[in-house]
Amino acid sequence: MKIITRRSFIKTGATAVAGTIAASTFLPKGWSAFARKDASGYFEQEFGISDELCRKVLSAALSKGGDFADLFFEHTISNSLILEDGKVNRAACEVALGVGIRTVKGDQVGYGFTQELSEEAMLAAASTAATIASASGKKPASKFVPPKTENYYPVTTLLSSVPLESKLPLVRAVNEKCFSLSPQVRKVMVNFYDQERRLLVVTSDGIKAEDLQPRSYLSSTVVAEKDGRWERSGWNYGGRRDFSYYTPALVQELAQKAVDRTLVLFEAIQPPAGEMPVVLGPGVTGVLLHEAIGHGMEADFNRKKISTYCTMLGKKVAEPFVTIIDDGTVPYLTGSINFDDEGTPAQKTILVDKGILTSYLHDRISAHSYGVKSTGSGRRQSYQHYPIPRMRNTYMLGGEASPEDVIKAAGNGIYVQDVANGQVKIGEGDFAFYVSQGRLIQNGKLGAPIKDVNIMGNGPKMLANIIMVAKDFEFAQGGGGSCGKGGQAVPVGFGQPTCLVKSLTVGGVRG
């Protein structure tokens, strides 16, 4: 059962999720046909979804009127290969097949879905969706045309076409490497996850968009013991990648990071509590942007006047050296999409342009209500959900300063290296993000490591408090970033240069 609330949350990591995410590694033989890289025609060939059938179902969805209707076909296969206690002894595979049918009238949505792709089942779901409207019927477009877009994840070797025998050595290598790096390593868990999401969007106004979205990551969780104390950490690499990404060099780097990050925790303390300057290191700390501004810029919240940002468009919200972007077009990044789940081509949307709030993130419904074009931000977890405005990859552009100068300027405060998760209250703009690892900053220099601390702030206040941005911009290269909103999880990415926020509340342990 899903509970609807507007709170949104995010998780960045793939390290601790193996218990809950199904994954696996083998595909039925029929799937080898999947190695074909061209996405078009898949649903017609495999399931007999013809234009004529789509037109029939769309007609049923518009049988009581409505502005438009769309069909979202999905066939997703997710695999995990898991190593625990030295053995690759667990695999998981999940197949999701279905179609969601939506009828839209103004900002009202009727939605039905079915896992059976038969005409009868689809017509029944369409008649459910149609109930949102109550006028006379409309006809869908007579012709469906694919949208023009680039391919932001041109993969050559889909993971599904890679035999298990080729994946096993990679997983074992991560394990062996981790143990070889320190005698304090006691447990290692490795998860090699891959997903292929095939989708077809057909709209009553004549769009037909078909895509194959690959996604994968290799993650390692390490538990170490020192003088009777135990610590755990980990790392993951991934994105919309194919098998060629997972080289022996990457395995080395993954193991090194996972072990280093665990061992440093033996020296780490929980920092003091209270307001203080906070420096965000490069990369995954972009989670802060995701919470502090990204969600508040999703247009559904603004259309309903429930976002703290709903009256700020065109206004100065940050210093001129702050530019924040949400972008579906970054090659191979986890949040990249060729087009969104409504068939709108992917875009790069500037949220804050040199300090000025410039654009919300729109899906079709909000774009219509604002009289603008969709920003290609209409996304959904699966065919069981209707799309809503969502982020893709959210990041801040780099500035002029050196990272050292930024740390120096902080004086005394904390330095954030890794963020595990975050959350925001859209209306207040209050957000939190959980720092799994960082350092104290003392007299302008990095000091003792810190761990396990939640940091709180307020979005608009935080933006105004960004006082220095360094030139070391980085995208986070993890493949496990996932954002939850209204009960729907979608993959997202982050990027961030080192930057200084004048003041945030650090949830430490001492007054």
């Binding site: 039905g112 059976e116 538990v223 959350q423 959980y434």
Partner: protein, 440 residues
Amino acid sequence: MKKELYDLADRAIKIAKAAGADDCRVSINGERFVEISYRERQPEGIKEATSRGLQVEIFVNKRYSLQATSDLRPQALKSFIEKAVASTRLLEEDPLRTLPDPKYYQGRKTLDLKQYDPDYKKLTPESRHSFVRAIEESCLAKGGDKVISVSASGYDSYSEQVLMASDGFDGYVEYTAFYGAAEMTAKDEGDRRPAEYNVAIAMIRKDLPRPEEIGAEAASRTLSLLGAKKIKTETLPIIIENRVASQVAGGLLQAMSGRSIQQKQSFLADKKGQKVGSEKLTLIDDPFIPGGLGSRTFDGQGIAAKKMVMIEAGVLREFYVDWYYGRKLGWEPTTGSPSNLVIPAGKRSVKEIMKDLGRGIFVTGFIGGNSNSTTGDFSIGIIGQFFEKGEIVHPVSEMNIADNHLKFWPRLVEAANDPYPYSQMRFPSLVFSDVVVSGL
């Protein structure tokens, strides 16, 4: 539909066995749901569907895998399972992965857990819409001129589940679920638009509060957040409201699982029989509460459910040990996951306790935060009310608490008299002393 699900489970087992599996366990879930939301006195979304999912665990040649699919076309399912069995053979051996010893299936209770509401069938589109409209109206009325936006929603579902294993185990559950919810956003100073929600979930519809109460409470909870501010970092007593107490307890539960313990990711691993909390901390896992959201007679592995005292007056008594991690640890399995959790209620109301404490924070929500199951450290943002001289003074925002579970639970000084019924965790409000609350 029961027979259909049994036939499907039976077929899946036959396919797996024919493909060479030594054993397998199949779980099938069928669900029909309707979800309606309203905003500005109009339906905002109407969603309705019937869905099914099949999960099969395969044991072959001492190897194990877990497969799930929603593609139940007979040929597709056959091919899916056959290929899964073949691929499972390629994994590494793990002799501890087997179906449970059947003796753990024994003693399954036959009792009516009151999880199916016969009145479910009487629901009509009209009754569903009027339920949600009543929630919306009451929230709008109570919110008055402070309302910026109100969303109300209602949900009902009918589900069936079959669990069947190749060693002869089978179990069937049929249940209904209902919820009513509202969320309100209010006008405040500057650009702040505080929002809060209220949701009630139950398996029997009449166990829900009246829709008018659901909506009105969402509004009062939102209005209570107007004018929030931070106070100085201070060590204070806190009262964690019943409905959110489960979030902090989650950090304990994570560390109580057999997997966490075996994988050396539990700060409780060596604490069995020891004090981990104050005398006031008793935690009972009770699978037999009528209408309980977590009630059951068997768990996901078929192990017969029993009532367990997990923590008794502060002393850790039991862990959640499933069959597999039990074998790895060399321990008796208990059950793989919590059912309903109960912390016995105390005698006084939150109001009386507040009077007694004088100054502190009544925590009504959390934001962000996490808990480290390996070390027990946690840090989490709080939303709530600052009280002084026993009276609420103003709401707080952008504040946080951080502690370690092994130091935190010993400071549980009281449980209030208000166990929360709309959750699998039926906790009363909990009072902790000397908590560092960080703010300014």
